[in-house]
Symmetry: C2
Subunit: 132 residues, 2 copies
Amino acid sequence: MLNITRKVEYALIALRHMQSKNNTDLTSAKEIATKYGIPQQLLAKTLQQMARDGIIKAVQGPAGGYKIAANLKSISLKDFFEKLEGPLGMMDCYFDSECLQITNCNIRIPIQRINDNMRSMFSKMTLQEITQ
Amino acid sequence: MLNITRKVEYALIALRHMQSKNNTDLTSAKEIATKYGIPQQLLAKTLQQMARDGIIKAVQGPAGGYKIAANLKSISLKDFFEKLEGPLGMMDCYFDSECLQITNCNIRIPIQRINDNMRSMFSKMTLQEITQ
DNA sequence: TTATATACGATAAATTTTGTCGTATATAAT
DNA sequence: ATTATATACGACAAAATTTATCGTATATAA
Ligand code: FES
Ligand code: FES
């Protein structure tokens, strides 16, 4: 329970890999996929998403690839997670109010409190801390 | 991402409901299921599991039901979650080492650090805080 | 004896996650 | 120009997990 997704895991692995290289070097999806045993197409899509989000920069064509574009210190884990996977919380009724239990729900407030704790925790951690 | 399961949600709703009653009163699965719009059989199984774990006490027969048996202050959310759903962590490779990425993995250590933070956070919160 | 409650393994449905396919575009090298 | 290799991305498929139901047994108050 309270797992992150493979997508996020792959994204973190990729970021850390790029971080370990010279900042001018490009890294292809294939290089990372091969080295860490990750499905290439899935990783590629995740990298593309990060490129759209401005976290990394994409260069097309042969000898192309990706490199880190943003200052990882300035991106919190919370923001990173939410960019890749949407709202971060223990329960969806925290965000959308379609919950079936919502009329009589007796744990909404306490759960929100815990949610806030968790979100606050991930707000205080930056991507840099993982990929350094 | 980082969601708890319905099972845990239902368990918390049930606990809070029982907590709001006199400590000698019994509450049936049906009563809770009806009031909060929860599938009865699923809730029943969850209550049974909590009974096995000693969190609540079951009384069989007509006019039977459940009541809180443990001191909720003494049960951390971490322990509660893990009783119901098993190991608590952002990634399974934290516990079992069958992970495909494990040989070359470059984020194992940093992820473990975050995991420890998260587990520590839930260790400090008790069931009482949710059901009070 | 009946009605109602818990107990629980097995199974099914639904949802979410994870992975693949096909096609288009960009660009360096030949 | 042509080729080879890389990103871009929507649609689809497979797999895994979560959620819910079924069937049957047992307990016990009325
Ligand atoms: S509002 Fe959704 S479970 Fe409480
Ligand atoms: S050890 Fe499993 S992803 Fe790193």
